[in-house]
Symmetry: C2
Subunit: 151 residues, 2 copies
DNA sequence: AATGAAACCGTTCCGAT
DNA sequence: ATCGGAACGGTTTCATT
């Protein structure tokens, strides 16, 4: 993982379908060298996935909510984590320090659906309390920071 | 945006580099029809971006924190929104209802860096109070839900 | 690890339905 | 809007350094 790899990652972060031949022009390396570097980053798991970002307004899931969740006991964590993997409307979930144990991000199409989702989450085993925040504006959302740690 | 488009989106969400020829086999449509549908979804903005998900542990940004931020006055919103676009370590930001006006997700490499980031965010114009949560585990993180709204 | 050349395969364009 | 064919361009493999 040298500076060239980070350059390639940033290019792919901007456009995961950028061709190796264009990347090779941009970073002044041969096509085969670029492909070989990408292949290695896939193999070693540096690149975990290629994905798309869709316009949630246009796909009908324009409502976003953040729900803080606390569990009755840490023993419920595993089953909770399992359950939320299967719930499509939950797009992210973090286990965190603070008053609430977890925070989840929900993507849905209406406040009616949000209410239903709220009930579903509340009824998962071990869920103690929740606090819901409706997102008024999605100010920024990228997947991960790609910043080379000092040299 | 019919059921076939949603199928294509889901395939691309799993692998944005899936070839049109493979997609065409999976959904029983000709290669040119698949390409034409993708082209239209790009043009109309349904597909906003192709991107990669990297392993943050392997790229040296394995620390995640969530920071709630409140502003002294709503008039500071625009400048705050502008400022955080430029801050690479801030990967997401939501304007929300509740005690705090905003919540941001931070990706960094150490608690020392987090402390420095905390000071930087605190010193942005109009920032009133912050509350920071360290993420102990990233339980789930996909970009957006792709769910076809009832038929 | 990087390079260039050749074979291969996917994409793009186009005319037809 | 979909289809299949032909030309094009990108990828993959390999021998070489």
């Amino acid at each position: 993982m040298d500076a060239i790899d980070y350059k390639i990652l940033k290019i792919l972060q901007k456009n995961a379908r950028e061709t190796a031949s264009n990347i090779s022009k941009e970073i002044h390396l041969s096509v085969s060298a670029v492909i070989e570097r990408i292949r290695k980053m896939e193999e070693t798991g540096v690149i975990k996935e290629y994905t798309i970002i869709v316009d949630e307004k246009k796909t009908g899931n324009e409502m976003t909510a953040l729900m803080e969740v606390s569990l009755e006991h840490p023993k419920f964590f595993d089953s909770f984590a399992d359950a939320i993997q299967k719930l499509e409307y939950i797009v992210s979930c973090y286990y965190q320090t603070g008053d609430f144990d977890l925070i989840i991000r929900i993507s849905c199409h209406s406040s009616d659906e949000l209410e239903e989702i709220h009930r579903q989450v509340m009824s998962l085993p071990g869920v103690d309390a929740t606090r819901t925040h409706v997102v008024l504006k999605n100010v920024k959302n990228i997947y991960s920071a790609i910043r080379r740690p000092d040299k």
